[in-house]
Symmetry: D3
Subunit: 217 residues, 6 copies
């Protein structure tokens, strides 16, 4: 008998991302604990890289959220830009978490100033609006982008090299004491990066699903 | 020969609101100045009262904005919640203004602390997220709602009485030195309210269209 | 086989408080999930009501934390003033959470402005220093005290009446959209208060232990 | 028939600056729109470079503002340090705008973090006090000075080289998404700089006079 | 042999105010310590109640400051609005303190949130700009005015009654833990008010002259 | 006849530090002024470098403070981390000042943005929590560490070289207009550093004892 279901929605259509998210959540699956079910938004874009993508997936997210049954205790939106967060909160009878918001909140309990590793520079401005709306700019150290496209992200050694480089600058130049992976799909690098840089590294999916565990019945 | 067109979109389907907005902009129409054209989003909801309404009109706004020709110098979204502001800015080749953002910016040049008169209490939280994202919470005195529904808003004497009552509390209890009408459709009360309360009152549509005039070619 | 132990330390010597905390955490205990073990600091004061109390329990907390074995994945300090949080974080090899900090972080995902129900007015100033250090004052609606002493808190109908009264003022006068029980020992009122007031109510112990679940191996 | 007069006062005595300001405002002059009249404060210093200069021009500004007739709808103080802004607002029956304040407000609608190009490093501290009083430090990316004196500013190729250099640092190192020309006399470089750097560039005089257009009768 | 002179300038022409300030500084006069000399700005207005008054006294303050000899170690401007503070700092070779700024800084070491008792409501907005420029709005509880004119202030029992009333509201409704007398001339009520209200009360003249003692040679 | 005693407690056991503090306070000792008595906490650690050190000295500080007689007008805690500040304030009948808090407050009257020179990088996070609790992050330019251990600090030429280097970076890269020596034992370098860098440099012990002079009877 489960104590409810946590639905994790990857709002893009790339199943490899969903699989990666699913894999990263293993430690949070307990027998007798909430089931954690990961979904792919098949009609979504291959990746969420613009405000237009965010606008496009919002309606899809609303529809998908409506399909969840009574056993749902929480919905997690697995994109760092938290698309549809406000509207899903309004429309859902269970708790709703965005991985961007949850990651920042978790980071605030791990270090005085947080730094964020984004994929593309174009998303930093959007993220900053979120941090402002969250009222946490006094804790913000900086955000820097890997600047890698999807093909480049598949090159693991190149991605790792950039993660190290960007993480070091956030730690040493910007004064970050904790780093956030500003993307749903980088969780596999988390432990190695934390070890290499000597600072805590937050996987936003783990942060959000952990919060969702608190809704267990 | 005009110096360009400012397109003002009322994102709800109530043509009376569009007409009211249009009427309030008379003083900003100059011969030789930009044309100011007001649009109704016929497929939008009768009013925008929820996050679901905002999500629903965003796609409509994107489509409408795409229909504007090369003579467009600016687009103004005439709803205080600024639906679609980020995505229209990303997708448009001309400047885009939201009346909520513009009203707050104008108020910052009119008094040290601003107060906002909302229509419904349910929208205050959404507005606060915007003020946070704008980084202006140190200037925020308070926001209070009229608590009137659409039918009640048609009763002008009742609306006026509530405007006075709410405005006085914002001024006297919350310390507001300037008031913002937190809605596109209250412009007709602006001058009387400013006179009755002795503080500047900002009509958000005028604030945004004024900013748009600066884009004149 | 457990996935580690979460140690929850009540830093006062009142075993009834520990029992209440223990009872409130039932929904977070999963077979196969982390064990949640509650401790009483027998040498601590009967309650923590002053900076002197905080100073006094800090050394006790350090000693107790050192006694935990390798299976510890997290330590939770079950006092809303978060005594010893910084030093335990420095001295421990596992994660450390304070229920005050965790409650505020959880509240930030539940409403735009949070209100806090303290037991005694004298602790509000101390809490405000924490919110300032957390950098979240832009999200703070207000904090008000029940003003009840230990004997009065044992009178459940009186406590309930004050919770309702103070909660309503935080919601209606201060604009709080989410309330925090600013004390480890009020968890049994949480659901009833949330239902009575129509806003989410955060139990700080649940908030912190939920965060700790994310440390599961 | 005009809809009122906007009086723009250059508070220094350098008529070339006034002429430059006047030229930059061409696009805001509409037949039927407000007249825009630029004034030189002949008794002012050649440039405003110190707190002493600001103190000295304040009395002159008050006197000049008093000389404007009933047709004045707005007064614009054309110095980025906004000398006399508070006192002119108190003493005038029409709206008063400072180009520093207006530029920052306009920038807030153009990018999440603003950067400012000052002429001399000594004025940055003064500007920061203004941004603080405006409550917008969370949106501030940085301010850097050209470090050019009046003679050097007359060397256009040198000025252009420094504008590019300083603008790039604000954009790339400080994260500015929008730049402000922190001086009344740099407007002629605006469009070229925006094109060269790929970010919006705000001319403070245009920002203030645009705001003033909203006062049209 | 003195260790230098602290010049305290009352920027209004009311010698009774200067005398009151002088009397309040008795405890800071030590044999062998800095001499504390109080000055009246005879050409200043009877009181400083407007931005125009501030503009008017600035030139007088600059002239008076220039008259001080080499033995000056500090200049204190004894008006809570800190007229001329920036320019005197720029023009003087010794340290310059404003009693408004100094009072707020002293209050920050006496309680988590400060409240201010102003004389007239019209000055509150001006003071708020200063607190914003100081960056201390997160510590600000509120400011309320006595609403008494000069004649009424001479009625000591009426003044005392209003001080009590306003101080109680700041303490009980606004949450102030420390109160500032927002005026140079209320020092004689300080101790009685602190005793009556049970919170520290800051006399801004004492706060500023104390800071000035640190410049002793 | 003295006007009371200011007790300055060095919370570490290194008497050389106490002697240095004592020497730096010479200019604040006036015949007829408060006596300034410096104490060494003999049972304290050789230096305060961790949260554990802070926890350890707190009880010692409470005990020492209790030993002071009725003539005490103020207690100064001479460690930049302000150990025990809250509890001593609660437990003492006289005023209590921490040199960290006092230094920041003094710096706020000396420049718009303050920079801090710490000894070790590990203390920066702790200091940032304090600045946050003080609510002054908008005035914070940066903090950088010398990175010298106790032995290296005894090498005066090496210490001086690092002070210059770190101070220049704070001034030139971080925009600090005033520097704080973030340690009780660097006072002997203050004047030379201010002269070399051309910005005010605050000795935290002088800042705190100066504030304490205001408590003179």
């Amino acid at each position: 008998m489960s104590s409810g279901v946590i639905h994790v929605i990857n709002p893009n259509s790339t199943t490899a991302v969903t699989a990666g998210v699913d894999a990263s959540l293993g430690a949070l699956r307990f027998s007798g604990g909430p089931a954690i079910v990961c979904h792919t938004l098949e009609q979504g874009p291959a990746g969420i890289q613009s405000e237009a993508d965010i606008a496009a997936v919002t309606a899809l997210l609303i529809a998908r959220a409506r399909s969840f049954g009574d056993e749902a205790i929480a919905i997690v939106i697995a994109c760092y830009s938290d698309p549809g967060l406000a509207v899903l909160r309004e429309q859902s009878s269970c708790a709703v978490f965005g991985i961007g918001e949850a990651a920042v909140l978790r980071a605030l309990a791990a270090g005085q100033r947080f730094g964020v590793i984004a994929i593309q520079p174009g998303s930093i401005s959007r993220h900053l609006r979120s941090y402002g709306a969250m009222g946490v700019m006094d804790r913000f150290a900086g955000e820097r982008a890997l600047g890698l496209d999807v093909v480049e992200l598949n090159d693991q050694s190149r991605t790792w090299a950039r993660l190290l480089e960007v993480g070091e600058r956030l730690r040493d130049e910007d004064g970050a004491e904790v780093l956030i992976l500003g993307c749903a799909g980088l969780g596999s690098y988390r432990l190695a990066l934390a070890q290499a840089l000597g600072v805590p590294v937050i996987d936003p999916c783990i942060a959000a699903v952990t919060m969702a565990l608190g809704e267990a019945r």
